[in-house]
Symmetry: D3
Subunit: 286 residues, 6 copies
């Protein structure tokens, strides 16, 4: 790459750095980017770099595979209802240990190890997530929680002091019961409460495609009002639905843009945020 | 109790409340007070009340019994060397999960449930505890850590914002290895770094006794310089040694006073801090 | 008193200390508590202690007996109209000297002598009280003033700097005439202007009684809207009327509660403010 | 006076206004300027005007004639030792009433009446003057106090809020005894503690004269080190000694300049401070 | 002049100094006061003195004679249309050089040389003046600009830091074209944007006269609503029209008063601002 | 350029952006980059972009060619002594007009036109440059000035408010004489006073070359202590000497690094500051 190309990248990037300076970005971390070591390294490095130049990054994570592994080790059987894990009291306790103890503090340690300064939180800390038992007629999922409200003070306090908050999506109700919460939804609700500039959902797909077999038909930008129609058409379907519902909800509640990006490409966060190219599919208000 | 007695308690207490206002207190929580539910309730209530009137309380905890229970459930054998648990990589991971995931977030939930506002941290958060492998000639304890330095910023940031920081004493080294750390030592080092007004070590004894069989021989105040002599005399012995070494270390490094109190008496923290009576044995500089 | 009782008093008191922290309390000081030395000592000690724990206390005082004594010494005859002292120019000057010079600075000296930090003010300082001649058809009371408005800046400036303002209720009009002002009314008006949390009127009675001969029939709480009815019934009568009118006026103008307490009981201020018991009769809005 | 002359006065005055802006000036008020009404009006007007343009003015006053008058009214005999009034307990109480009650609050009322904003203080307020009984071998003056230290916080707090502090020079010791203090000395000590820019002592003379019968021999400026010699020569003598000793003491302790001015000339304060002419005799360090 | 007269000038001036303290004054400098060296010295001295006592002074200047001289030296012919100079590109460039380079920096140097602290700005600095080409049907004046909006931040930033901003009235449009702007109009627009306390227009006349041949018929104060009538009557005519239109415009947009003063009298600014006399003719809202 | 290359440029640049954030950079602008329009556009764009991401940029400029042109137009003969222009009074005035009026305000207009926010200053503004006549034995250069001291407050005030200060290197002495100052020297002195992070001197060469005919022998980094030796060897010679002396002087006085870069390459400032590559030759302390 010659000097003029380099200069071009920088000339393009600087206005974005200005745009995002002192603004808040929520990254929902998961999928391949959480399992593959090289990808994990690139994500964590991106987050530390963005934080370095004054962008406030919040990392929200789940941890499905590690929960399964632990339940297996402890001989606790997993029961599923409508594809959702039935979470009894014991399982909820295991989920908390794994998410808030192992995964969360592991990510904090990783970020700090490469020069960042993270603090690990869960929904209980600073009364961040107020939850109730998920209600669905005729079904009992056990200790699966729905967020009633978000108190983002603990997160903004961390951001104000320069930390990267890493958030595990478990919470406690007033009686002390532990609940597991869907991480995509939690990331969206947190981003909304923070009036974030951008919610970035890491996925294992290229983005929304007009023709799902042709990556060249990527849809770069979607108005949230068009989502219902795209669901009908089948452009949005299956496992993408909760993520995209999260994006829509976040934008509706005041997040400037929500983007699903391809977590399988190294540094896709940096490209999405600091180049004209963007990545994946962005959701915005009209 | 009549009004004049009540007035007397208040007249006595108000100067202490003034004295501790905006000052930092580190409470090492453990022993019976952690197992017995009534005692636990009284401790947590005391902490929330002290915080309410403007005293900055830091709660440091261990969690021995719950770790054992979990290791048993996971069929991991416990090996002991010189009375200390040999901690292999897998065990260290379990310790982290239990301490930072279960016990820590459980205490945070408890405090928040009775009207407090806590945040749960471990030694990794905000690079709080910098550790290395415990060195002892001829012995390998595995992942048992020694604190090299304390960076208390994450704690003081929480205190500044009005939170009660709850600290689990595990940490990570630069390579990402997880270490278990003695909670008494950690509490002492943290109190020292915070230049705390008071370090309160909860124990299951009345305090230091001249005659160990006669509770009426309680020694209320000890100069740290007298501790070596009291060890020789056998007044300090056995399981008390690490706690009292912690007290001495803390006072030597600038903590105004360190007190071992009887965690078996409900509200012993409140009595110790806000009455002329005091409780247990207090360690100070000459 | 054993430890658990002590702990109970503290557990009860701490939330009140929190509640009143940085809030303003106006105490109208007078009656027996001003004459009896032991009571005086307890009142001043209470005020210094409350100030110590961050409560902003304003002391408003009269000084009837000392004025009489001085007029006698100076051979100035006292003339009364409808039970009110007729105040000529010379008498007004004497009232000022005694209230603002002797009583006020004497109280300031007393408070400072027991470790407080008071400043003595009168209605003239910082243009605090704007007064006019009391108007009543067919009667001329001479230099008896009615408060037209209160400028509380001098008081809040003192409070901001941590002083206990002690206020003598005399004032000057634009022409430089000195006026004597009823201290109960002045205390109420000052409390209202300060939007005080509590106005405490010290009296020489237990409180309002349903049956005035039976102290067990104390009425602990009265809605200000019920006062007219209680006057009709004779529950409120005689010398209590101006004090209770002051309470009602203060509450109507935004003071959270106004309480008449029994100044003959030592430390009744402390008990009223920091225990569940309360003391005397409290006036509030519905 | 034509425009160019007016312009000249202003061109001269503006740099002085700048020089004194936000600086502190202590005026010792007494003598004819306190008795004659026209002079009093001019002094008070000067003080309000100086305060108006951002100069911090502190007024310190005595009140000899009014004390005598009151003692007479109360039939208290005045006893003098070495020309100093012997002050018994009763007399001390009268002095306090007259100075802190009548004179002080009277001046405050006067200043506020012409648009200023004054607060009246005495040495007891905010523990301003710490005094002890005047010691002199073989003589007992009764309750005549000597200043041991000045705590100027109450004054600076008033200045910070824009008030003109008016100070009566009486004080209380730890036992609550009231002491009368020489006002010249008190003004000097207060000016020193405030590190005032200027101490202005109002007198009833033109200033120091080389030939005491010839006003044209006024000495405009004296180095404090020359004072002992001038005393020997008789240029400084009699009633001027305490005033000039006060000036010397103030300058020695850090006051930039101390000036005795002729209080019999209207607006002499304004002329002294804001013109090239100056007035009276100024004392400075070499 | 004797002392009492001096005192009178000061007593009169101090309330004005208070009134203008921290307020903003815009002085339009031009005419004889710019050519005559003694007058120039008096103006600059006045400005430095006013600034010294905390008044924020903005100096706006033109520079007609020096522009003519330079154009002549460079052999550029001056063409006039309706009495206004036709400004071609080359002329505009010369105007910029002379005003922003020579006159502006010359004044800055002069002010700084007598102890002030000035900064020289033109309409381009900090995007202060947004201009467009002056539109008039059937006429093309070339690069003569009309102010569309004023961004006074560069000026207020200078004032905040204590500088005297000196403003040359040239500006640039988005395409980089340089425009000459009428200095009277610019001063008025800047004063309006700054919500100045006073706009002072220096002229070469005594002020508005009822009878233009009789200086004793000076009109000291004019309501802006009376200006149209005075134009009809011929009291306002000729070269005064743009100045007075500027005054009216400024007052209409929120400037408290606008005054045309006689720049031929030394220190007329000081007299106008700090004496009861005033000078020239003042324009105000009813 | 593919995504991974782009990501690489960004990953490299972000730490530099962090490094320079809120730091001050002085750019000496001149040579080809001032004459060629494309280069000028790239320089101005770089400066606006750097400012955009929070780097404080100061632009110092000369203007030789435009001065010559103006002198020619005005028929003023240029006289040279030892290669330096002899500057008489008239020439000095022309230099001021051209530099401070034409070039300076032209650059300010250019920067503001592309979205920046610049303010144009010269050495007279805010008493920035204190100069005296250049002294050299046996030679008189006329009004050529040497900097005696730099008062950078006007510059830091501009930087604090977010402006890009553009500085013309002319100044005035106490007598009001105008002096021309070498721009390289002025840039170095200003950078030193500002304790700048970096001084960038734009030149028309690649940098220092070991073999002046072989661009591949570029010396990327020089310790300032090696400069005398390099002069002896002829590596540093001719027109580069004043620039490199400026670099050495700046580094000696505390500038972290001084760099001569090739102004003929577009965006060389951006490449130098935000990539690992650097550009030209950098001077540092050992």
């Amino acid at each position: 790459m010659d000097i003029s190309q380099k200069a071009k990248v920088l000339v393009d990037a600087l206005p974005y750095i200005k745009k995002y300076f002192d603004k808040t970005i929520v990254v929902k971390y998961g999928g391949n980017a959480m399992i593959n070591n090289e990808l994990k390294e690139a994500v964590m490095s991106d987050i530390v770099l963005l934080n370095l130049v004054g962008i406030k990054v919040v990392l929200v994570h789940g941890g499905g595979p590690e929960i399964n592994e632990m339940l297996k080790k402890m001989d606790i059987e997993s029961k599923f209802i409508n594809g959702l894990r039935y979470t009894d009291k014991e399982t909820a306790e295991v989920v908390r240990m794994v998410l808030a103890g192992k995964v969360n503090k592991g990510l904090v340690g990783y970020i700090n190890g490469i020069g960042g300064n993270a603090i690990g939180l869960c929904g209980t800390d600073g009364n961040m997530l107020c939850v109730s038992k998920k209600q669905e007629e005729g079904v009992d999922y056990g200790y699966v929680g729905e967020i009633e409200s978000v108190n983002s003070k603990a997160i903004t306090d961390c951001l104000k002091e320069g930390y990267i908050p890493v958030v595990a999506t478990i919470a406690t109700d007033k009686e002390g019961n532990v609940y597991n919460i869907n991480a995509d939804t939690a990331a969206a609700m947190i981003a909304a409460e923070l009036k974030a500039e951008n919610l970035i959902m890491m996925t294992d797909i290229v983005g929304l495609l007009k023709d799902k077999d042709d990556p060249s038909t990527l849809i770069p930008k979607v108005f949230v009002s068009d989502v219902p129609y795209m669901k009908k058409q089948g452009i949005i379907s299956g496992g993408m639905i909760p993520k995209i519902d999260g994006c829509v909800e976040a934008v509706r509640r005041g997040v400037k843009q929500a983007t699903i990006i391809d977590g399988r490409i190294p540094h896709s966060i940096l490209i999405e945020m600091l180049s004209n190219e963007g990545a994946g599919t962005m959701f915005v208000q009209e």
